[in-house]
Symmetry: C2
Subunit: 478 residues, 2 copies
Amino acid sequence: MTRWLAPVLLPHLFVGIARAATFSAADIDTARALRDEALAGSGAYEIVTSLTTEVGPRPAGSAADRAAVAWAEDKFAELGLTGIRRQPVPVPHWERGTLEARTTAPFPQPLVAAALGGSIGTPERGIEADVVRFETLEALRAASRADVEGRIVFLSQPTQRATDPSGYAATVYNRVAGPSVAGALGASALVIRSVGTTRNRIAHTGALAYTVNAPKIPAAALSNPDADLLERMLQTGRPVKLFLKMTCRDLPYEASSNVIAEVPGTDLAEEIVLLAAHLDSWDLGTGAIDDGAGVAIVMATAALIRKSGLRPRRTIRVVLFASEEYQLAGAGAYARLPPAEIARHAVALEADSGGDRALALASQVPEDKLALVEEIAAVLAPLGIERGATTTRGGADIFALMRQGVPALQIAQDWSRYLDAHHSPNDTLDRIDREQIDQVVAAYAATAFLAAQAEGGFGRIEAPERTLPSTSGDDRSR
Amino acid sequence: MTRWLAPVLLPHLFVGIARAATFSAADIDTARALRDEALAGSGAYEIVTSLTTEVGPRPAGSAADRAAVAWAEDKFAELGLTGIRRQPVPVPHWERGTLEARTTAPFPQPLVAAALGGSIGTPERGIEADVVRFETLEALRAASRADVEGRIVFLSQPTQRATDPSGYAATVYNRVAGPSVAGALGASALVIRSVGTTRNRIAHTGALAYTVNAPKIPAAALSNPDADLLERMLQTGRPVKLFLKMTCRDLPYEASSNVIAEVPGTDLAEEIVLLAAHLDSWDLGTGAIDDGAGVAIVMATAALIRKSGLRPRRTIRVVLFASEEYQLAGAGAYARLPPAEIARHAVALEADSGGDRALALASQVPEDKLALVEEIAAVLAPLGIERGATTTRGGADIFALMRQGVPALQIAQDWSRYLDAHHSPNDTLDRIDREQIDQVVAAYAATAFLAAQAEGGFGRIEAPERTLPSTSGDDRSR
């Protein structure tokens, strides 16, 4: 049982008290109608089709990143949303360049690998060195400099499949922190087994985060079959040598934007229900599940509410964040809005878990607001959605708002297929299932509408710890 | 129901007559014991592990091709086979080089594609042209020059999944013949939807065959998701432009070899039961299913018979053919042995359908020898193997022997997963299932032994038509 599927056992007395603050029967009926309308066809599939066909891969700082911003504005307008605008964001611009990876001993073979996002390149002549294998980052941390210096470190830990992000949480730091841990021990480069569950011969990229106190070393992910191959060579007991040549590099920052649109509120229009997703993607696929699906879910949710002619009390704001994948530049810019602006955010939801079905409604709200969440969960229950955990990090783009007290709801989706394609060439439209994404929009629409109506709102939360276990993967680098 | 799964309905009288010529009870018992021994662990998995780990991709003419020849000799010796030798074969040497493919209109996106084996490269500046789509090769053949000239032809036909090679047979000529059909109509290049059943974003290569009377044009295969993407762009009704840049080229022929080993016969030692597979592979994967599995199956079969201490009547000869994938150079050299040598071949079997389970025993033998096949089939029946078709092309490497009258048996394997990985980066060891490949070796071992014992042998066959429908895919280019 995962944490966010754990049932919440509330004292009956507490539920009794809380009921006084919950929704009107009319609002519940409206939420149910929105839910059922989305189920019948939310339009999300068409939106992610449009984005992946007309823009495709859109890494931060690229020409396609700029095309995606223009696409988003046009799509918001087409969907009838208002207040369409850009928040300018300078974004990092990392260029993948080319990669050549091969074993040179004991058996020469080419390998399928991908540079980790943000990696430096190798010297032009490449790097050839003996491989030293560690199963985990912890084992690498425990290694001596003598074992590692001058070698290419191989982190071989596989990622486990699960309906929740627990598999990702267990291996993502190999990618994020591995390069600097290896660099600090004098390694010449790092290769990791891809953080992904597919056995296809494709590599999964994703951002690394160099620390300031370790030498930067080149880092790449091997496909799972290539990691297996390397392990078989290591099992011979003979020295294994790798050659790596990578031309990736950071270029100067580029102008990009968070793209914003709204369904205007009425009596509480100054208060904001934030629906977040990110517009950028990695470059290897077309950014369908990460995060075209999220973009489609939040756009379709707002469009559905708009189209229904409803006038929600609070403003429902959609923000498509820039450069989530690398350095969270858009989230950082948004979180630096003036405190009075941040304070307007009643609650935030982030869609960044692909397009597969919603399983649970998790939350991070004050205790005296849990009854609101319970009531929303009851509306979602016919979708097969359980009431999930009462703690959540919400998502990478909204976490900096949560750190400033903004409560969060989280529609926790099924991750069991997500890591098959995540950050890989396989992140393409065919991974999106129309029925499943409609169910997710159904959950978002009911939740967003009720959040906009909630009498008294969701209050403020204590700033969550940065080290709180994530329910949607790593909050620093997705 | 596929042709080779169709039951063979023999007149009872005929069976009665034929029974006089079939196997001794002792030989049947021995065949059953070999079958069961293989099922308990044939060693084939270890052989394909060794080949894919120690050699990996081994396209004809490459350094790895030469390494594979040395590996084969060593492995034959390790397995205790005798008469280990090379038949020198000059092989073509095509170099893949690099490929860049992208749409430039209406929406610029990079595409995942692979040059077809044998393709010429593009001019150094690349080719940019409008795309014209045809569903099938037949539709392209029916097109007018005005529709095609100067354009990049896109053949969009998908390959259907089946337990037999019927899906492959329906689309492989898009790859083999498409380039010259398009070239003859003035196309500037050809892209095909990969001949493969995976929806992963990987492209399937494979040989083309230029005809002498058409201009050579560059040709590549798109991954299935990329073909879908191109179709979506075409569905907008707006002109779609592709850019292609490929540096592939033919280099001078190189020396390679068919590698041969035997289990020596006794009273009929001059007669040969030929077990064929091919040693070369395409370059994108590690040649596990195509044809590491076949190599392992025939090696393990011979080793099992050798290890059992049996002295078969006929010589069981294993030939690992060179350059099957491109121009069938090894098969051509072998088929040009003197007629007296060819006449020594009592029967031939070819393993070139991956490592998945055997479904049927097909044959191409004279009618008066069908009873032998029935009796062999009865020994295979406990493996879940049916008596298959009484016509077969046998396989690409033995077809030229069949054209000279050599009968063939075929252990028809399950193709339902085969085209997921065939000719693609996914042709890696993890596609091999130990239990399934052991079952295949069980079938080969019983069949090869009984073929070596068969009183009176299998006679001679009429040369099959070159246009006979194939039961193991295309006979010209695999």
